[in-house]
Symmetry: C2
Subunit: 250 residues, 2 copies
């Protein structure tokens, strides 16, 4: 039980159920590689003694993780880790969804969930260099890798320049390809802000996450080579499936 990444104590009357605290620790220990190197979880009795709780409580934690797809329990044999490696999503001058995950997943594509045109909020108009309330196109998209949802993005474009852009995107499944059709041969990342928070209910559903899951949020501006803002986007990545790789020597 040493070096399993399960060294934290559980806290009673904290507003978080013991089974959930234990589930969180096991999930964390697995994703950090400290647990499940042999693919096997310690027996329920050992875990209950380690945490000082009843075996039922450990079983509740395990049941939740089985439901999540993190663990698999087999009667009489034990409980095993369903290994899935974390994708590494590069943030660089040329940040492209499909290219970035090349070699990490066979099938990589983006899906258009919905689109709308409306007046820009102050944040969006400022980022795109447009007058307040100028019409902007909003795209709600989702990135998938091998059928697993990876990211959920909300993007904004100048509606006067990119009328019908949603069709090009829906057809190609790629911002890069759609921009090409609109006469933008290349574009670069101007800025990226990274933060993290709990997933909201919409992202929970879209990304198929369990309550309490964390999303990595990037707020980015892409611009032409000439420096004109093209796209403003907020992307939510499932934090247990993705890490962001910032290219060095910027």
């Amino acid at each position: 039980m040493i070096g399993t990444g399960l060294e934290r104590e559980v806290t009673r009357r904290s507003g978080v159920a013991l089974w959930r605290q234990i589930a969180d620790q096991i999930r964390q220990a697995i994703s950090s590689g400290a647990l499940g190197a042999d693919g096997r979880l310690p027996p329920e009795l050992a875990l209950s003694e380690r945490f000082g709780v009843n075996r039922h409580t450990v079983r509740s934690a395990i049941a939740a993780l089985v439901q999540e797809g993190v663990l698999r329990a087999e009667q009489g044999r034990g409980t095993f880790v369903e290994t899935r490696r974390r994708l590494s999503y590069p943030i660089a001058a040329r940040t492209r969804f499909s290219e970035g995950l090349e070699g990490q997943a066979r099938d990589r594509h983006s899906i258009l969930l919905s689109h709308a045109v409306g007046p820009a909020s102050s944040r969006v108009s400022e980022a795109l260099g447009l007058p307040q309330d100028a019409p902007v196109l909003r795209l709600e998209t989702m990135g998938e890798a091998d059928g697993r949802p990876v990211s959920r993005a909300t993007s904004f474009f100048d509606a006067s320049c990119f009328a019908g852009f949603e069709n090009a995107f829906a057809r190609t499944g790629s911002i890069t390809a759609a921009l090409w059709e609109f006469g933008v041969p290349d574009y670069v990342r101007r800025s990226t802000l990274v933060s993290a928070r709990h997933a909201d209910s919409a992202d929970l559903a879209d990304l198929r996450l369990s309550p309490g899951a964390i999303v990595l949020v990037t707020v980015a501006i892409n611009e032409t080579l000439g420096g004109s803002p093209l796209q403003f986007s907020e992307t939510r990545f499932a934090a247990d499936r993705v890490e962001l790789s910032v290219s060095g020597r910027a």
Copy 2:
């Protein structure tokens, strides 16, 4: 109640008490700036109707946040936000703690919590280009801005080159200044991986976070201008106090 950042639903039987879910949402909405722009929280009755819970439950959430120092309740007047803005920590070729937060906090410094010399794990030896089990110096440090804990880092250095480095760091409160004393005039960031997870109990205590809080984790390698690895570090940032700003056009 629109645009207050309190759009998420609360989930029953999720293992997280309703009062805690509501407290987490209010805390998040405040730190994201969506709530408390006017410094004022909506009345308890409005909140209880919004979340579909009893007013008692909202009061439990508010009481927890008052205890945390996030809110301040005044009988007969209302509940108010103790405003504090989120710091923006730049990730770039030259990533320095104190310089990065310049202009965002008056007092910025790092504290040495503890240090030790021991054999390198495979991850550390690989990052530093050392043989397995080579002796490395481990520094446990904390970054503070205006007296508030911001980050908690674990750093590794080649012990054979940096014997006594901990004294230079403890005296100067800066990795950059301490490296200077050891004949390293400049260094750059080779790579940065960004992920997010729930804070563990140690970080919870050091960063003075409440259970369930999120940390942004950066795993970074700094190297000399010549390209020799200098420092391997894992830094945990309190996600509700810090966002990471990745410099564009890498």
